[in-house]
Symmetry: C2
Subunit: 309 residues, 2 copies
């Protein structure tokens, strides 16, 4: 009888340990959800860049269907979105750390004194136009100065960022930049946009992350191969097939208006009409229905950030 008791004790103690070694807790489980829960962050990029983007995103936040976004500190309309952030401290707003100025009629510059971050500048004194130019020219020390300054500037304006990501993915372009990004994020105790499904894309991503770093399962975004008429179908189909775990759908909201058309002139990809289509789908009853029908639960970076030690 006593042996059986001891055996039972051993089994009860060891089996869960073995089980947890076989299948470590998923991020969903660490967040307190079942392993098969489908969790979605609906995230609007590029806040602060233009009024049209701010206005459409603030409108979309009202529906509750878009529940997260990130802000570009060097951009001209920062002050408008900072006012919103101060008035809506519950809003899930992060920083869209910015090292590129990709449009041709509307441009922006670093917040650091420009002579201290020369490697980040193009010949006109703005950030480089593309993420590849930006990444190949950037001195990682200057990147660290600049992204730290962006975070400090945001905090000084009363923005309490819940997460960090990288405009046009510049900070994921090479190991040195990604290391800077992670170091700054760890210092700030903020989660970064990194997904497990990206690990195959580059050698450095999985090896640079430490066991304590928090990352989500996957991101989902539309691309220029999708025809405008298939916009809603692309998202609905992707969400109907959504796998369990934490997914961030990365979207770009704005109105197809004069400001946005001029800002994105000659660039239909991620242009004004593109952003209007994103706005329409993600504020629609169709999107709400897809969420309901597929038992998709919306979560935010604020929740994910609680796992950051």
């Amino acid at each position: 009888m006593r042996r059986i008791f001891v055996l039972a004790l051993i089994v009860l103690t060891i089996v869960p340990l073995i089980h947890s070694q076989d299948a470590p807790k998923t991020i969903a489980e660490r967040l307190g959800y079942p392993r098969d829960a489908k969790l979605l962050i609906v995230h609007a990029d590029d806040l602060g860049m233009a009024h049209s983007i701010n206005a459409a995103t603030m409108k979309a936040f009202e529906t509750g269907l878009v529940n997260s976004g990130s802000i570009m500190v060097p951009c001209p309309w920062l002050s408008e979105i900072a006012t919103y952030a101060r008035a809506n401290p519950q809003a899930d707003l992060g920083l869209h750390l910015t090292l590129t100025s990709e449009w041709t009629s509307l441009r922006w510059r670093p917040v650091t004194p420009s002579d201290r971050v020369k490697s980040l500048l193009d010949k006109d004194g703005y950030f480089h136009l593309t993420e590849t130019e930006a990444a190949s020219s950037a001195d990682p020390k200057e990147v660290e100065l600049e992204i730290t300054a962006q975070i400090e500037r945001a905090r000084a304006l009363g923005i309490q960022p819940t997460h960090l990501d990288s405009h046009m993915g510049t900070l994921y372009q090479n190991k040195a930049l990604f290391e800077v990004f992670l170091r700054v994020a760890r210092n700030q105790k903020l989660p970064v946009r990194v997904a497990r499904t990206w690990f195959g894309r580059t050698d450095f991503l999985p090896v640079t992350l430490a066991p304590d770093d928090v990352y989500i399962d996957r991101t989902l975004d539309i691309n220029p191969s999708v025809a405008p008429n298939d916009w809603g179908k692309f998202y609905s189909d992707a969400l109907a097939k959504l796998e369990p775990g934490v997914t961030e759908v990365v979207i770009h909201l704005a109105y197809d208006d004069a400001e946005m058309r001029a800002a994105t002139i000659d660039h239909p990809n991620w242009g004004a009409a593109w952003r209007q289509r994103d706005f329409e789908f993600f504020t629609s009853d169709a999107f709400r229905k897809v969420l309901q029908e597929n038992q998709i639960k919306l979560i935010t970076w604020r929740e994910v950030g609680k796992l950051v030690k």
Copy 2:
């Protein structure tokens, strides 16, 4: 007979000299126009600040009724108006030297590395909100650095400025700033917005100007006491009474659209509707008729600038 001839010669030689000493040539005469000519520069301020301003002003230029403008180099839409300047080298475009960032949702910063022009910055790292704060804080040496940098930046982008003026009049706020402004303008061999009728406003203006400096006779601008319905009447009446000489009518064009309303939020003065009213009057047949009926001839700063030695 011979005496009469000599006397006549003396009279014919001396009298015009006496006359020209009594009445030195007016700027109209120096420009080759009769003394009683009514000459008008129709000048749109604030180019580069917002797409709405650029778009409305470029549209107004097409009518020929608005024939001059000035550009704010630190502002986000500089690149769009620089593209226009390069494509329209005949356009009469000057620089609206900028030391204030007066709106609350849309803001801008110096082009000089910020740690070298700290006296120009507010607590958020932008230019000060008002011209009085800007002028009282500004170190004239830093002002010289910044306005020179603005001119160099404009030239580097292919803008060939025909004149200089000062956004919100900051550079006319005190003698030290006005001296910097004049020194930079003289070095650049560019005319500045100064009018003879301003001489009574401050002690320093007439004494700072040198005999070689070129200035116009007067400026004309509308003010917040004019009711929106009286907009056209105000300008038409003022132009019907226009005195001879060179007048600059200083106007602010934009569309009353979402971008401009957000940019000027809570500030009806010089706001979106104000600028739409200016656009409507200065592109109207009514304005064209007033010019014709009052024999008012349009000239540009490019012409005035030819007098600068």
